[in-house]
């Protein structure tokens, strides 16, 4: 018990020191717009369901962002994983797609914004559903194609790269022995390649989710957005509510870290064999 407490203090010392310094500077400056008091920010974070500056609560904005991320990220997973598996498996498929994908890889997801705005404008899932009013309109209209596309691009490349790498890294001897044991093509994919590459694929999915999350928040800061944590931050900035800006930033970080740790826990549990069988 005492040891746990000591451990807890040790790993959080840097964070606690940071907060102390922040608080000291804030008290000295005594200017809420430049640097608000830590406890003001803390109050916003600990009351996530309270309405702020006429924009809904912190929690509801995080939820909006979250749903957006999942829409785009889900598309990235269902496209990048299969494409990556085939590119990793076949030299010809790889050669066919490689130049195409590599050309767009260095383009930062946000550089797509002007083009994507020109393509999709403010259309959203509500546009497809043909809704113009009502409760569902409000929900679906939050899922703008432009944002989802940017999230998709952000998540796509880390997942694709890791998947290709994972499939290529499968030891040839595993494939050879499966062939001799009478494996069909389908067996090779489902019982050898995919499970063997799974740790790398899941690792790519974890990194891709992080990138998606970062892209989203940036995308929400762009014009045309009306909700989400990113928008909350820009809006709070325009009304000089620095405390909300910081609270928004902290919740972005905390949500990202939480998602990442869920993934890590899954990886540790499922892929124990990978570390141990080196």
């Amino acid at each position: 018990m005492f040891k746990d407490l000591r451990n807890f203090i040790f790993i959080n010392t840097s964070l606690i020191l940071f907060i102390i310094i922040w608080q000291l500077i804030a008290l000295k400056l005594d200017n809420r717009v430049i640097l608000p008091d830590f406890f003001e920010v803390w109050k916003i974070i600990t009351n996530p369901f309270e309405e702020i500056i006429g924009m809904g609560s912190l929690a509801s904005n995080i939820l909006v962002s979250f749903v957006r991320v999942f829409a785009g990220y889900f598309m990235a997973v269902v496209t990048a994983v299969p494409i990556g598996i085939f590119m990793g498996y076949s030299k010809n498929i790889n050669r066919f797609f490689n130049n195409f994908f590599n050309l767009f890889k260095p383009v930062p997801p946000l550089a797509w914004v002007p083009l994507v705005m020109a393509w999709f404008g403010v259309s959203s899932f509500a546009t497809i559903a043909g809704l113009e009013t009502g409760r569902w309109y409000v929900y679906l209209n939050n899922l703008k194609f432009s944002m989802i596309f940017i999230i998709f691009i952000g998540g796509f490349y880390p997942i694709l790269t890791s998947t290709i790498h994972g499939v290529r890294g499968v030891r040839k001897i595993l494939l050879d022995s499966a062939h001799v044991l009478g494996a069909s093509k389908k067996d090779i994919f489902l019982k050898i390649l995919i499970p063997a590459a799974a740790p790398s694929i899941v690792n790519g999915m974890r990194i891709g989710l992080g990138v998606s999350w970062m892209c989203l928040v940036s995308a929400e800061m762009l014009p045309g957005s009306l909700s989400g944590v990113g928008y909350l931050i820009t809006h709070a900035y325009s009304v000089a509510r620095t405390d909300i800006v910081i609270a928004g930033m902290i919740s972005i970080g905390a949500t990202g870290a939480l998602l990442d740790s869920i993934f890590q826990a899954f990886e540790r549990r499922k892929f124990k064999w990978q570390k141990l069988s080196k």
């Binding site: 022995s177 044991l181 019982k191």
Partner: protein, 266 residues
């Protein structure tokens, strides 16, 4: 007349050659026309139930022979006949054990052993039963739920043998299966392999670096020359098993094979 001929043919296949290598050559294409001829005109007939070893210097193409027989590699020229018909790709009556550890690290030992049966769509109950039987045969009862990384190298190779035997092949190709093991484990494994072989009399083609291992195990030893690999000499060993290393005949045979190998300066 025709009748008797037919009967004789079947007898041929059964008694004479279970597997026949006919003028097998293999050239590996390298970059810039740097072709490497690994195997040159390899011909050999193997009877049902025989234990054949192939020894030779590194790069003499001895593993290549097995890989071609397993269907993992195509010969540049020549053919392999299995029970009288040409072998074109993998065959469900030909199994293989590799030198490298080849178990699937995410599956437990039982599921690894049953892998080939799973590919053949055998029912779950029969799969488990068969896998257990062969795990017992290689002395690994009680390890069904263990993971490969929990087992020593020797135990992993036993699983690989059990896995290959579980699909009931007629020919077992073994590519230096004990090459990565320490000397003590290695001699134990040789002993066990003989026991298993005597029990079910599979035809075994065994590639090894070790002359000692070949002499201990085989009915016939094929000695290969260095690249491009050709058959240099075939030794018929009719001595009864278990063979004793202290016997004079052991020493004579071993040193004769050694001298042959040394002629090549390898």
């Amino acid at each position: 007349m025709a009748e008797t001929l037919k009967v004789k043919n079947i007898m041929d296949i059964k008694e004479e050659n279970l597997i026949e290598f006919k003028n097998i050559s293999k050239t590996f294409k390298g970059e810039n026309n740097n072709n490497v001829k690994a195997l040159d005109d390899f011909s050999f007939k193997i009877k049902n139930g025989e234990f054949i070893s192939v020894v030779g210097p590194s790069g003499c193409g001895k593993s290549t022979i097995l890989r071609i027989a397993a269907g993992l590699l195509d010969a540049t020229s020549g053919e392999i006949f299995f029970k009288g018909s040409v072998l074109e790709s993998t065959h469900d009556k030909i199994g293989m054990v590799f030198q490298e550890y080849s178990l699937l690290p995410w599956r437990n030992i039982l599921d690894n052993t049953a892998l080939g049966l799973e590919f053949k769509k055998t029912g779950l109950k029969k799969r488990v039963e068969t896998a257990r039987y062969y795990l017992n045969l290689v002395g690994l009862e009680g390890f069904e739920q263990s993971m490969p990384h929990e087992l020593s190298g020797g135990m992993q190779q036993r699983v690989a043998i059990a896995r290959a035997m579980a699909t009931d092949p007629e020919v077992l190709l073994m590519d230096e299966p004990f090459g990565a093991l320490d000397a003590h484990t290695r001699s134990l494994m040789q002993h066990e392999l003989l026991k298993i072989w005597e029990k079910n009399k599979k035809t075994i083609i065994f590639v090894t670096h070790s002359v000692d291992e070949a002499v201990y195990l085989s009915d016939k030893i094929i000695v290969m020359s260095k690249r491009p690999g050709k058959i240099k000499k075939i030794f018929d060993i009719d001595k009864k098993r278990p063979r004793k290393r202290k016997d004079i005949s052991w020493g004579i045979l071993t040193s004769e094979i050694f001298e042959l190998l040394q002629d090549d300066g390898s």
